[in-house]
Point group: C2
């Protein structure tokens, strides 16, 4: 068995030796270089672009401006297409925009023979703007009339939705209730994947090929087709290894522009690489969401009714639209079950800031900060153990969402909490750290979460897989599902090996996706791949095995029902006697003069199910009061993501997520001045934690067997990033008695809070 083993990553050798090929490694030597001119105002119009001087720069081939692009508005969100227009993403941008909506909007592009010429030409383009006052605060939009950013949204509200479970008004009449009403806010952060967005495009046989660092090659094909107004089939997208995405590359960013630029130079290869600085504010960010949370609680901690108002700052373009804050308020009703009623309102509001998009957790890191913070505020005030109040209210096995039908098929949440509690020595430290004084104080904090697996029933969930037998009995597997650093190639290989009866060394996975030849899959997002695409692997492997056994049955003259595949050989199903090796059988299948078959298998699955994974984070911190600085002494994430296909890779995922959570909780924030200009769009001023800032990251798992997962597994990719920030915030409350309701918990904010509380 390979599943459950911590086998080495199938791409480990390539990546460690630096030999793995990423997009830029594959770009032809003679590619032209494109660079984008960005708007230097946050709101207004480009009235004129003077390019004559720029065109004189030696090596400049062409300059394309916002006055030259086709009028095909297109969306950028990496969602499956829908044949129902009401479920299609908002198509609100052109390749280059005369109407600029944020500082950094794309207004022109230079194509040159090299980067120096392109950069020089950019600096020589003169832009005349008509400037409008920038709108930066969603609350201002909700409170007053603002000039619309998009004509289709006259009051700058992209969407407002609400729900109510039970009868909130009735429930709130209970006079025994103690009420908690608080506001929480999260900041704008950026994904900071190692490899910035990069692509190159060229024409071949009157079709456009785009090689890109993306999580979603098949979706990208569709979006480029929309943006250029040409059929899907005329676009080919190739995805090599990628240096991280975290959701930013679940948007289709600059590839449509890249494809268009290629058509403007007769189909020659054009490369468009986005710099780190551009990536910060010209791609996507995690939405800043502000929450009002109100809970009516009995004094024993039981929540009776609860409400939330969430306002999401969308920035200038819709991207994933309302989906992210909608996911946040859905998560609000999931993790804790109010006894009587829960309701929520969610707003997504356009502002003149960079567009928010998908980022690891899809609204749930924001939700968890607000919801988990208030749980500790309640516990603190009612003098309850934060663990006990959670256990009393949290989701139980069998829970079924009243709107979506999503069901809790398995839950190890209680065990996760117990493991964390034990590891951090919770009970002792909770007491020991009470009522501290002095400049250095310690605290423990924790937070929990639940997370869906894939996007059903909100969107389509489908995947296909193909397997190809080689002459030595080894196989190739091909999926549209993408390796984005998370180890997908490795776990898919393990799944295939086990299901067929081969050892892992007989599995070759084709890592690169190519929409011309790769089976369709919507891609890497929503922690869906091991669950949804894993089903395709399982069903394809089962079909493949049947086909191999059918050939063995012909060759061995034995009924299929007597045959099985084990350890790279056809064996007798009951006696396990080895009848013929897969290698010898494969040679026969390829070269038989009598009956020749090139055995392959392919299968589409459609997943009409979902399940919930869980976890908890426990931290111990030390607070330097005069410096207003938090030091993390110890941290552990404990996850229930069902059966682990590869425990070591699972732990690695958790490590990465925890690191993101630490940055989110303590230091990261993309800042803007009053005109919407980004203040720190670079890795020096944007405080991404380095290895020096990061404590040892401890991980543990509770392995449930989820009955809906193809191998008992469920989501893991995004969850680790969710509970860290609220656990830190709750530890700070424990250490100091100060409830900080905004992140990041950096010295700047802490200093103000401590001063306000008279602590310094």
């Amino acid at each position: 068995m390979s599943i459950g083993e911590s086998v080495k990553r199938v791409d480990a050798y390539e990546k460690v030796t630096g030999r793995a090929k990423y997009t830029d490694d594959l770009c032809p030597r003679n590619a032209l270089i494109a660079k984008v001119l960005h708007s230097t105002i946050a709101n207004g119009w480009v009235k004129k672009l003077e390019i004559d001087e720029a065109l004189k720069v030696k090596g400049v081939v062409k300059i394309v401006t916002c006055f030259d692009v086709p009028n095909y508005p297109f969306p950028t969100a990496g969602h499956p297409w829908s044949t129902d227009p009401k479920h299609q993403d908002v198509a609100d941008r052109l390749l280059l925009n005369q109407r600029v909506r944020y500082y950094g909007d794309d207004i022109a592009a230079v194509i040159a023979e090299d980067e120096v010429a392109a950069t020089k030409a950019l600096s020589l383009i003169e832009v005349t703007y008509e400037e409008l006052p920038p709108i930066l605060d969603p609350k201002e939009v909700l409170a007053s009339d603002t000039q619309p950013l998009h004509t289709a949204y006259p009051n700058n509200i992209l969407a407002h939705t609400n729900y109510e479970v039970g009868n909130y008004k009735e429930a709130a009449k209970d006079t025994d209730l103690i009420w908690f009403e608080d506001e929480y806010a999260t900041q704008i952060v950026q994904h900071c994947h190692i490899e910035p967005p990069v692509s190159f495009a060229y024409e071949e046989n009157h079709r456009i090929t785009v090689v890109s660092s993306t999580q979603i090659p098949h979706i990208m094909r569709r979006v480029i087709s929309q943006a250029l107004g040409i059929p899907f089939g005329k676009i080919r997208v190739i995805k090599p290894y990628i240096g991280g995405g975290f959701g930013n590359k679940q948007d289709v960013l600059y590839e449509p522009l890249n494809a268009f630029l290629c058509t403007q130079v007769g189909g020659k290869c054009v490369k468009l690489e986005i710099s780190r600085e551009e990536t910060f504010h010209c791609t996507r960010t995690r939405h800043s969401i502000s929450f009002k949370v109100k809970s009516g609680v009995r004094k024993d901690g039981r929540i009776v009714c609860r409400s939330m108002e969430a306002i999401s700052n969308q920035g200038a373009y819709a991207s994933h639209g309302h989906a992210i804050v909608a996911n946040a308020v859905t998560g609000f009703r999931h993790i804790y079950q109010a006894e009587k009623a829960v309701k929520a309102d969610a707003y997504t509001v356009f502002t003149n800031l960079p567009a928010g998009g998908a980022m690891r957790g899809y609204g749930i890191p924001q939700l968890a900060f607000a919801s988990e913070a208030q749980m500790d505020d309640i516990a603190y005030k009612l003098n309850l153990d934060p663990i006990e109040i959670r256990k009393q209210n949290m989701m139980k096995l069998g829970y079924k969402d009243p709107f979506l039908g999503i069901t809790c098929h398995s839950s190890g949440l209680e065990e996760c909490i117990e493991k964390g509690r034990h590891y951090i020595d919770w009970d002792n430290k909770l007491k020991a750290y009470q009522n501290q004084t002095g400049p250095i104080r310690r605290g423990v904090g924790m937070a929990i979460f639940s997370y869906k697996t894939g996007v059903y029933p909100i969107s389509l969930e489908t995947a296909s897989c193909r397997m190809i037998l080689n002459q030595d009995g080894s196989i190739q597997i091909q999926l549209g599902a993408t390796e984005i650093g998370q180890g997908a190639d490795t776990v898919f290989s393990q799944m295939a090996a086990d299901t067929i009866g081969l050892t892992l060394d007989r599995i070759n996975i084709v890592s690169q996706q190519d929409t011309d030849i790769t089976p369709f899959d919507t891609g890497a997002y929503a922690s869906r791949q091991t669950y949804v695409s894993g089903m395709a692997v399982k069903e394809t492997a089962t079909l493949f095995k049947e086909k191999v056994i059918a050939y063995a049955s012909y060759f061995l003259k034995l009924p299929s029902s007597n045959l099985d595949i084990k350890h790279n050989a056809i064996v007798h199903r009951t006696t396990n006697e080895v009848l013929i090796g897969m290698d010898a059988l494969a040679l026969e299948a390829f070269y038989s003069l009598d009956y020749c078959q090139h055995i392959t298998a392919e299968k589409t699955i459609q997943c009409k199910n979902n399940t919930l994974s869980f976890g908890a984070c426990f931290v111990e911190i030390e607070v330097d009061m005069p410096l207003a600085k938090i030091k993390v002494l110890d941290i552990i994430n404990v996850h229930d993501s069902g059966v682990l296909i590869n425990p070591q890779l699972a732990a690695a995922q958790v490590h990465g997520g925890m690191s993101m959570g630490l940055g989110y909780g303590l230091s990261e924030q993309l800042l803007f001045d009053a005109k919407g200009k980004p203040l720190n769009p670079n890795l020096l001023d944007y405080k991404l934690p380095t290895s020096m800032d990061t404590p040892d990251l401890m991980t543990d798992f509770v392995e449930t067997v989820d009955p809906s997962g193809p191998y008992g597994n469920k989501s893991l990719g995004e969850p680790p990033a969710i509970p860290v920030a609220p656990a830190l915030r709750n530890a700070l409350l424990h250490a100091t008695g100060v409830a900080v309701n905004d992140i990041p918990l950096n010295p700047h904010i802490l200093f103000e809070k401590f001063r306000a509380h008279g602590l310094i």
Copy 2:
């Protein structure tokens, strides 16, 4: 309908604009460069290689010699593998050889950072040989004891086979017979494809990828695996566009060495490009075959019995082995049916010359020269019309080969002859040019041929195809069959379009083969692809159509039996009413929330049939007697290759073959000195005809409908090269009365002949 239309090549735009990517275009910038050191003796042993000075050259990374390579003998012929050892190709060479067998044998390789360093290092390697006398003449081998080149063949005869149909001895007793006994000989020529052999190899995830200009990617995978002693599945071969092959790239040439060199530098990318000069004598050549042909003929021209002895000069290594001369003597019994008996002996003999391999026609150009020359010799002596004697004896519809069972399912041979006769004004000129004198004389000549289609039943014939639906209703098709310039991609696309019911613009063919992902096919050789691989296209398209109709049936709620696909739409089978476009249906299939299917189809076919195609060449020449020079005034090839999928591409194939035939007949010859050293291995001294040497090439077709061909089609790729040389030779006989039995008919040879006949 697209079949039968001269649609534009699908790769025309790419190739005309120079944008199509060939192997070298894809090679990574930082690839190391390898160069091969070749033996400068034709027979003997390498005793010592001194590489110290060479290693000192700046940029040299590694030098590998014949003392360093693994001891896995491997074959190079592009034949399908056989699980029966008796049908496997001769494995008679190592990657580098201490035992050198021809001038140019591979004895060492330098790997360097650039070509200059590699070349410099080559020149500094000192080799000490133990030299043996070279064996160059096969007749010498047959007549006396020679020292063996390969220990497995002590008398240097690779194979001797014979057959007899009827009772030759009995038949020869007929006293009415007039006997003709002549010797004919053909020269060594080289393919002279535009793109010399080139490949690059790199390791990826402990597997070796080789990108190569080859006709046979899937076979190459197997041969590299044999040569390196590692499993098939650890090798991946990618074939981009290639600049011609003509059979030379049906051998696996330097790719195994390239793959091995890559393993010697830790898996780094290594490029190995063979120069034009090396290509001439270090790759493959067309065998020189000498024939003795004896015919017993009645005075009306009817052949009663006939025998042939064919001796093939194999050169130093087996390559395709005995298969080529065996094919020649098989062709001997095919084209003309002796009334009573036919027999043949065929020898393949090792000598110290470059190895002969496959080249357009696979033994039949040589056979046709001998056989068609003698037909004219007989006609000349019996004063018969060369056309009439052929008609009397040639293969008729329904002929079935007594050994192979190959059957003449269709024949337009007689019509081909009539078309040629009419075009060249045969009857008038045959009379007009008799009994000429003076320095300038004219003549007409003709020759005919038959040619098999694929290799069944001698070898396995199998092919697979895959089709993939796109969201806009267009499709991709993928085959292991290779585009090598002949237009395969275009005709496969036409077949798919017609069979499914799509217009050609909806078909995208994946031109590049990649053994990891491309359906298996043995490759481009034996004029097999439209016939064998075409069957796979047809069956896959039929299956694909069934799957699309099944989905349409679900979606439209109509039985499949009511539905058809016509002109990119699902139509009612009887009324032809358009029910839904393929584009709309495809969108549904991809994105249905109810029933989602990513429609693809894949099918293996095994071809257990063969058929014969035919043709004739007619020429009119002018002979300048004092200059001993032939000028071609007019030439036409008329072919029966069944239904033409694309008449214009078919004509282009014929043009190319005729050009090769003209060079073969008039000027090309690779020459060697007495020690086996090539004298003219370059395009200056080897007289390949240029466009200036080439008259207008006329083509015509007789379209039979072959019942065994998937679309009524049969072989065309190789045949055009066959009949030109004998037609020229026969025209020379007609013009001058001189029977020249050796080619090329260059001034050097003609001068001697004319002098011997007292004509100059």
